[in-house]
Symmetry: C2
Subunit: 309 residues, 2 copies
Amino acid sequence: MPSQPFTGVLVPVLTPFTAAGEPDKARFTGFCRWLLDQGADGLAIFGTTSEANSMSAGERMALLDGLVAAGVPAAKLMPGTGACSMTEAVTLMRHAVGHGCGGVLMLPPFYYKGMPEDGIFAFIAGVIDKVASPALKVYLYHIPPMAVVGFSLNLVGRLIEAYPETVVGLKDSSGDWSNTAALLDRFPGFAVFPGSETFLLDALRKGGAGCITASGNVNVPGIRKVYENWQGPQADALQAEITAVRKAIQAYPMVPALKRIVAHFHNDPDWAAVRPPMVPLSEAQSAALLADLAKLGYSLGERRQPKAA
Amino acid sequence: MPSQPFTGVLVPVLTPFTAAGEPDKARFTGFCRWLLDQGADGLAIFGTTSEANSMSAGERMALLDGLVAAGVPAAKLMPGTGACSMTEAVTLMRHAVGHGCGGVLMLPPFYYKGMPEDGIFAFIAGVIDKVASPALKVYLYHIPPMAVVGFSLNLVGRLIEAYPETVVGLKDSSGDWSNTAALLDRFPGFAVFPGSETFLLDALRKGGAGCITASGNVNVPGIRKVYENWQGPQADALQAEITAVRKAIQAYPMVPALKRIVAHFHNDPDWAAVRPPMVPLSEAQSAALLADLAKLGYSLGERRQPKAA
């Protein structure tokens, strides 16, 4: 069984943009530090929630350079290396490995639909072969609602068999518990992270590694409580609390809603900015969301301000 | 009404790769020249058929640099500038405009699904505003079978209204004739190109600008005949011939099939190479495809060899 660099609660970190629409390195670094202070076990920067696919490879690498230069521990980082081309995926992955990142989160090639499984296998295998580093730990990123292209159970099995020391886990953002359960049943020792904390307790009870969840951006302490107490008598009650918060947020477009929550609780309105094709919440939506959360008694961690780098 | 840089038969040019999987600049340039010699009215390089999304932005720009350096007329080129990020779309578009390309073929941002129309509008508008060139002519690329994200009639109308001198046309690869017909009805003077020659005659009869079609890579002369004779007595018979060829090819995975045909008729086996996630045709598929084409009396243009640059 391969070594597992990550377990627990990982956050696909929101990316702040300046008023001019550029990635904001200082705010990003400060926010990453704050999430770790809040108890995040790892940071899955450059995922779907991070609007990573609305940034160029160069923008992503510059943000990672900034984090590492500011002393954020690379071992805690699992950058997304999603790209439609092997060329770009290799570039992003070499960069992450060069910085000593604990792992990478890898999308399948997501432009061409209906490709044969052999083609997706060849893409992933080709990238791993080109990076050619024993330090590389790949987490497969299964998110059919966005990527459409996914990783079937059979393909996951082929990749684990071909690269047992490299392909060590998977984030399952299918939203389909039966798929997560099947992965856990079929691949013991393989680190399966559901893509939402709504499945956290169920996953832990079946040997799951934790979760990698968008709402971690605004609820690390609550989600950590479930992780720490999953075998205790309060587990179901704690799970119900975090599920309620999640459901309140996901009643709105997820990334704009999370950014609005951060903007509100960190008293930093610029945080609400998103890059097209996303659209910020309207004032009415924001007010309704915050009211929904207030009804649940929600507050943002210890409400500490994230410090700029 | 804006000036229209393109009409007729445009080819989304296949991209040749070397045995090592790198884009083959010399072979590409030679093939582009050959297509123009065959009568292609324009070359929509870096489309879906070109495996453009399996190349990095840098690889695409290097291929375009090579074409222009070799003297292929930039006015005949409509490079695809498809990217999920505005950053990359702007880079690709500035590069194309800098070379004097006749136009660009622009995908919507295709990673995030279910985005509001306002967000897709903001993406396209933001890119056009950043490129900020009167020389820029944008053709929208509507291909929901691959991109999933598309351009609704309403969004097309908004973009034409906002950028009447810039957003001058659309390639409709929906495969849905009713959508092509609706575009032609609703936006007279806007250059609508169906994405398959199977709709060429129907489109021309309703004021269409021509077609931009994958099978142009192997059948420019046949398709040009329909374009030149669409008002003549042979039009329907000529259309039936090219439709039969198209249907024979698209019974197989399209891009690998086209590359195999080129490899065969140009006596250049390396042409069959594709990048993952595509997979080449098997020998059995290739033999069956070539037999199907032989039954139709198909031959590749004048069977002239494409010259290397």
